[in-house]
Symmetry: C2
Subunit: 309 residues, 2 copies
């Protein structure tokens, strides 16, 4: 095999109550990475589309190639040469797991090209390292679901303990991205380092409720558990019309609605595709009311994660 | 029907990571309440056994009768007369849900005597009110499982949202009660009102892991998730030999071990009765090593909660 193309999907991290511990992938959009072997050693980026020229072209500074270099180093492979093309199919700094998708697509493509020396689970730390380049800290709530698919729970970061849980078949996600930008580092910076015990208990109750609701296919419980008393009250101030958009989603049939990752994208979960679409149109309209254009993606939960094309 | 006897089991609240949100009942021990109708109006306590004379005999001050008075008032029943006998079968202030068991047995017995006007779920607020008399605040993590049985999750206190989750059949609890006493109010008082965001995230990960582990019958995950970084480090200082006892439980096959409720009782969860017994003996021995007598109870998780005898 001399060339390979890999797809890695966008993801919704946090999922209301699960800051840093929950995430799931959607079907589309997703980034596509092409790798082509070449005789000359070294990993070089030959083209990036869809980023408006904003991502670094230096292979040692771009998440998509950093993961490849780490993987090659780990495997002790020297003198390997390849050209990399990255197709960005989602906006940067959108809360849709953009850098995670690039890192995952990159590491999955390289692993495939090398004959799959590592399992998907084993690729996770490499993908996390790649995302760190972009967001400043190594998290797994975007790379985990983009790599593995499904609804991902990160029980522990040290040691890394990550698993997926069963989810109801008819659960649909609406992802709405208003055309404004939030820097992930800023979104993390505004958070308080201390949480009241009362809010910690409330959040734990909702975490337990969301896991149980998903595993029991109890849509009502899923909806009641999509409550975030810790992060959302702080980060939502960075998103214009947040309250109105959330209210519109729920009034139009969504089970719940919150911030996707560190925003500004917002997501809703609904029972059935029709509800997801109706809720999404209502969310879009609320942004439009104040002159903000917003793109919308409706999708089932992606159970497979990254794929080779 | 002129008289009734009800049994309400001991309970383990918190279950390591789930402060105020998790609890489960065990098969035994449990409190027994007898109510006998009489012609003269008024609820009177005629006998209490097993409390060494420490509980109030005044019906308006004892959890077991307070719940009855609340229930009668709620139902608009006046001129009702009965005599109440309470058999305490567990020590007070033990972390075994002693006051909750009395309150639950009381309200279940009275409801039965009146022809079951309320469902079990509807009795919950009355039982919580009874426990408040004893512990100073209305919690549901003991009364919930004692009343309903099973592994109980309290998603929210306001509004009260409580449900049970499926658990593996072969899960056994070891409850070890060292002969020392901790006042529930004191145990709550020493807790900090603020939690670091880092610890909140770690605790949420374990809450998610424990719910998923129980629902998936993944014993390893149950064990890995029985980690409490918020409450146990503070409250364990009130329990002599805590670290040694916990270490002994796990070294002898338990999945995990922590404080039962506000202590001083400690509990362990194990796969299979044999492991639960071996772990319990090791725990008992560690207390014995420092001259503390400790009682031990090994039991499956009680799936039925309070019963009429």
């Amino acid at each position: 095999m001399n060339s390979i193309r890999a797809f890695a999907p966008a993801t919704v991290a946090n999922v209301a109550c699960g800051f840093d511990i929950f995430g799931f992938a959607i079907e589309a959009p997703g980034d596509v990475v092409e790798i082509r072997k070449r005789d000359e050693p070294g990993v070089v980026i030959t083209e990036i589309t869809g980023d408006e020229g904003r991502l670094p072209r230096n292979a040692e500074k771009n998440a998509v190639t950093v993961v490849m270099l780490h993987l090659l180093k780990h495997l002790g492979i020297k003198d390997f040469g390849c050209e990399v093309v990255l197709h960005k199919n989602m906006p940067l700094g959108s809360g849709m797991g953009s850098s995670a998708a690039s890192a995952v697509a990159g590491v999955v493509a390289m692993n495939e090209l090398l004959g799959n020396p590592l399992t998907r689970q084993e690729l996770l730390p490499f993908a996390m390292e790649g995302e760190k380049i972009a967001s400043g800290s190594a998290h797994a709530d975007n790379v985990g679901p983009s790599l593995l698919g499904g609804f991902v729970v990160i029980r522990s970061y040290n040691p890394l303990d990550i698993f997926t849980i069963p989810i109801p078949d008819d659960l649909y996600c609406t992802l709405v991205h208003p055309d404004i930008e939030i820097n992930t580092k800023d979104a993390r910076f505004i958070l308080r380092n201390e949480v009241s015990l009362k809010n910690t208990i409330a959040q734990m109750g909702n975490v337990a409720g969301l896991v149980a609701g998903l595993m029991k296919s109890d849509y009502e419980l899923i909806g009641r558990s999509m409550v975030d008393v810790i992060i959302e009250p702080v980060r939502s101030i960075l998103i214009p019309e947040f309250k109105e958009v959330k209210k519109a989603a729920i009034a139009n049939g969504a089970l719940g609605c919150s911030i996707s990752g560190s925003g500004p994208s917002m997501f809703a979960l609904s029972k059935g595709k029709a509800h997801a679409e109706i809720a999404g149109l209502a969310m879009q309209q609320k942004f439009a009311d104040v002159g903000i254009e917003a793109s919308m993606h409706v999708s089932a939960i992606n159970k497979n994660g990254a794929t080779i094309l």
